[in-house]
């Protein structure tokens, strides 16, 4: 989809429509990378951090709630987990971004 939009549709459009096609082509690439990415690593890391298993949304909620009570030592551990997660998600949106 991304290839078709980028190579066939972009050249057939101009102005604001062409810009929007580029945005949509980029989104298609992101969706493809998202589907291929390992989304379970963050869930496993979060489970270890908060001390029990659960689904990703519940664990993220719990971590956010836990972080509202400032604790520098816990935040150090959380920083590494959140950094690894942000790196993975940034690389889905823009390959290589989360490696620098």
């Amino acid at each position: 989809m991304a290839h078709t939009l980028r190579h066939d549709v972009v050249s057939a459009t101009n102005g604001p429509a062409q810009y929007q096609v580029r945005v949509v082509a980029n989104l298609c690439g992101i969706i493809a990378r998202d589907l291929a990415a390992d989304s379970d690593q963050t869930r496993r890391d979060l489970a270890q951090l908060v001390g029990h298993d659960g689904d990703l949304a519940a664990l993220a909620n719990e971590l956010a709630a836990q972080l509202t009570r400032p604790d520098e030592q816990f935040e150090q551990a959380a920083l590494e987990v959140l950094l690894a997660d942000a790196s993975r998600r940034a690389n889905v949106a823009k390959p290589g971004y989360g490696d620098a």
Binding site: P16, N26, A65, E75, L83, R89, A90, A93
Partner: protein, 325 residues
């Protein structure tokens, strides 16, 4: 033009400037505002101008304030467009609008970056430093419109408020907020700042910085917030080895700032780099939330959500570097 009717805009702008206005083209159709090239048919002849019309569904600030600050900046020798006319409610449209002179040069970030070799990029960074130092020394007593004021603690408060409004867990931003509150600079400095001084709002020609655009986010805050924002990775457009907007070095920016009389504060610069980065993560998240909640059908707003992880990553990397210093 996804949401605004060109004929209605032309009618509204004609009422505003008092002479017939026609749209010549679109400079940019952004998430916050449309920027249009227009022609004004004056009795003495046709003149080119730029019209900006707010399309924001996220936040709109009064354009009267922006016009006021641009006049003050011009009086202090900053390169800015001349304000021709403005209104907080464009006739027939209802949105804030401003008409200014055209500043010739490049504004599209990637074109700007392609046009600069290393020495031109360094010179531009130094010039940015000098312009910011002059702005930060401008007396605000001459302004007639009240400005928002953000010191470190109030900035943290607004960050927290925005995070809660989004109603989605953002542990990375919560962690940043904790760090920011713990390390807030204790000696508050406040100056008139641009608020959105970055690659994309700078007009660059062969002589360097020809103009500074988009003053809608001007406010009273720590002067280091401006260079911190300019140096965010997001504005480097892939040129990550050049910290300042993807074109220059931090040393050049800092030298330019200090040579023009500005006082550089490294601790505050780092604090505001993290604060601004965290805020922009939320800014992008709220743009995509506006799409998800049906407040806008702009695909550009929807796509903003996919850039949130980049900003969260940048924010956490800055905190990690600050923690290991």
């Amino acid at each position: 033009m996804a949401t605004l009717d060109p004929a209605a805009i032309e009618r509204g702008l004609s009422v505003l400037v008092g002479d017939p206005v026609t749209i010549a083209g679109a400079a940019s159709l952004g998430a916050q505002r449309h920027t249009l090239f227009v022609d004004i048919d004056r009795p003495r002849g046709r003149s080119a101008a730029v019209a900006q019309i707010s399309t924001s569904v996220v936040a709109a600030s009064p354009v009267s304030r922006e016009a006021d600050v641009i006049r003050l900046a011009a009086a202090h020798g900053l390169p800015v467009p001349t304000v021709i006319a403005w209104t907080d409610e464009l006739d027939g449209i209802g949105a804030p609008a401003m008409v200014t002179s055209v500043v010739d040069g490049l504004t599209i970030p990637r074109q700007v970056l392609r046009s600069l070799d290393q020495s031109a990029g360094e010179a531009l960074a130094a010039e940015c430093g000098a312009v910011l130092a002059r702005l930060h020394q401008a007396p605000v007593e001459g302004l007639t419109s009240p400005l928002d004021r953000f010191e470190a603690s109030t900035y943290c408060d607004s960050l927290e408020r925005l995070m809660h409004e989004l109603d989605q867990p953002r542990p990375a931003v919560q962690l940043a907020l904790n760090w920011l509150r713990r390390h807030a600079p204790d000696r508050a400095r406040v100056a008139l700042i641009h608020g959105d001084f970055r690659n994309g709002n700078l007009v660059v020609d062969t002589n360097g910085l020809a103009g500074v655009l988009d003053w809608e986010l001007c406010q009273l805050s720590d002067p280091m917030a401006d260079p911190a924002w300019l140096c965010l990775r997001t504005w480097r457009f892939g040129n990550d080895d050049r910290l300042v907007g993807g074109f220059g070095s931090l040393e050049a920016l800092r030298d330019g700032y200090e040579t023009a009389g500005g006082k550089w504060d490294e601790t505050a610069f780092l604090w505001w780099s993290i604060a601004r980065s965290a805020m922009w993560a939320l800014g992008l998240a709220s743009q995509s939330a506006a799409f998800e909640r049906g407040h806008s059908d702009s695909i550009v707003l929807a796509a903003s959500g996919r850039r949130v992880p980049e900003l969260e990553y940048d924010t956490l990397m800055l905190i990690k570097a600050a923690t290991s210093r």
